[in-house]
Point group: C2
Chain length 357, copies 2
């Protein structure tokens, strides 16, 4: 059995795993592997926000523009597209791109094509909102988990990695997520500071920038039933999806009480906006510890968990995965243009100056 | 906030806790404290097993005899009495006594009064069964947990300790049970070997002795609603007790699948056999790790856990507690006289010789 932590990321431990060396998980799961040249990745969530069907063509055009930019020089190696309606009633489209080389991403971001488009005053006058949430975990700051071993089908960050592990030991116990993150060998992954509003005014619209703090945690947790036969579709849509939606709605609406800065439950779409049989959750948390506490004790998540354990053995074509990362403060960029003030990190950001006073 | 590990039991860690130093539990709980002179305790479960109402008077007389012995010189400092029906349809009465001084317990056990009674051939001819399961955790091998802070009312091992802690940090997360056991600072509490049948034949009845292995874990987990008002009684009996019973029945009947050697869900009684408003579970496990796995992932326990979290804030008079211990192989004594072969540790014990072959 493999360790979830790849050999080249193992280091002398200061902190112990939660389980002893002879721990045996009750069923197999896999993680994505990458060669040593992968030292840091970039996950760039570009969003388009609109209200009203009449804005949809402009929003879809903006989404396609982002995809066009992803395909430019130094662009994303992989991307996917989603739609969701938030709790303010706005439609949101997101294109998330993944880079394996932060240098390439930086050159891309500063390119005339990208910065010229994003920074243009025209964005303020498009009649739709934009956001970009760009985070860059180092290799030791993220982990993945998949119910299937065919790495050619891994979504998200797995798509820019190099393959699948053997079945891994660190799963099926609370704390295994932390134990899969290489940095947890030596570091508690504690949050420092606050989410600071560094420019702009969320209430006024326009451009807003927010600065993250150390060890903000991001979970992307997904479900793909596109290959499932009728029985598995029924299992997923009838039994797993309702408690999942309930749990995600809880986090979307009650984040401040549990330490979740933002939670979006999104459905994949194609470039024409057609819904695909694939969804995921994008959740930003103040810390990995707070994510752990919610996951292991909140009834809404325990219901998801119990359902998963009950059906895992019967899953053939339904595939599930997640990726969880923590970031240094400086490896996060949160920017909003004409989005409503509950969008993303804006809801929980505090005035940097007020905090200092 | 206190650590669950008392100051004199703290030692340099080889293994880390599961939570960081700034962890804050969402509600207060307490543990029992004892002065340094408490170095090892004894928990002695003496059982009487019978089938049929006509045997009840003899069984009750035997139970009273055990209580009489508990009160003899060097006897138990504290005891309680329970009744339960096992899954073979037998009634079982248990008197559990607690000693603070293993030397005193040893002198008591070897006294003519006790050994003369237990070892007598008359016990084989009483028409009822007997068992004794006597375990002796050192101070660093057990932990306690209470929903209330009045130590004068602590049941079980808490009754022979000296008081209550302040509210403690290590609770309300999976892994906190382990983190409360002082020995977990340096030791994984791993099981070694098997549960060995060392004399007698469970199928044949008569006297049977079983030898434990290192780090067998015992949980006593109790509920007392005797002081509860009508609302709390309804809450407990209507909402908490049914899932609790379901979980305990699962463990009683499916122990081998999850690593539980024996599970009894017992109700307290008085010396006349009248039922009291108090119950507890006595569960022996192959290891603390297996108890952890069941508790944190099995639907039947998660239902108990979620219900507890939901009602804890409204509990005034309903009191809950548990005590969890691990033992060295040599600090366990399991003996049965004319009990059915599914009783206690007999079900899962293996022939010591066969194992060696």
């Amino acid at each position: 059995m493999d360790s979830a932590i790849d050999a080249h990321l193992v280091c002398p431990r200061k902190l112990s795993r939660r389980v002893a060396d002879d721990y045996q998980p009750p069923f197999p799961l896999w993680v994505a592997r990458a060669s040593q040249d992968l030292t840091q990745v970039v996950m760039a969530y570009f969003g388009v926000q609109y209200q009203g069907e009449e804005k949809k063509p402009a929003a879809m055009a903006a989404l396609r523009k982002i995809v066009e930019l992803f395909k430019a020089e130094n662009g994303a190696l992989h991307y996917d597209l989603t739609h969701h309606v938030d709790n303010q009633g706005y439609d949101n489209l997101i294109a998330v791109g993944y880079w394996r080389d932060p240098g390439a991403h930086c050159r891309w971001l500063r390119s005339q094509a990208v910065s010229g488009w994003w920074d243009s005053d025209e964005r303020l006058a498009d009649g739709i909102g934009y956001f970009r949430e760009i985070v860059s975990p180092r290799a030791e700051q993220f982990e993945t988990l998949y119910t299937h071993t065919d790495a050619s089908k891994y979504p998200g960050v797995g798509a820019i990695m190099d393959g699948a592990s053997g079945d891994i030991q660190e799963h099926a116990y609370w704390g295994s997520m932390r134990d899969r993150i290489p940095l947890s060998q030596t570091d508690w992954l504690q949050p420092s500071g606050t989410l600071d509003l560094i420019s702009g005014d969320p209430q006024a619209g326009g451009r807003v920038k927010i600065r993250g703090h150390d060890n903000v945690a991001l979970i992307r947790s997904g479900q793909n039933w596109s290959a499932a036969d009728e029985d598995e579709r029924t299992l997923y849509l009838g039994e797993m999806e309702p408690p999942l939606r309930q749990g995600m709605d809880f986090l979307r609406d009650n984040g401040p009480a549990v330490g979740c800065y933002s939670n979006r439950y999104v459905q994949n779409i194609d470039l024409d906006g057609n819904l695909l049989d694939e969804t995921y959750c994008i959740g930003y948390w103040r810390s990995l510890a707070l994510l752990e506490r919610w996951a292991e004790s909140h009834p809404s998540h325990l219901k998801i968990f119990v359902t998963f354990f009950r059906v895992i053995a019967g899953m053939q074509k339904l595939s599930l995965y997640h990726e969880v990362s923590v970031f240094d403060a400086g490896d996060q960029l949160y920017e909003y243009i004409n989005c409503h003030p509950q969008t993303g990190m804006m809801r929980d950001a505090v005035m940097a100056v007020a905090e200092a006073a």
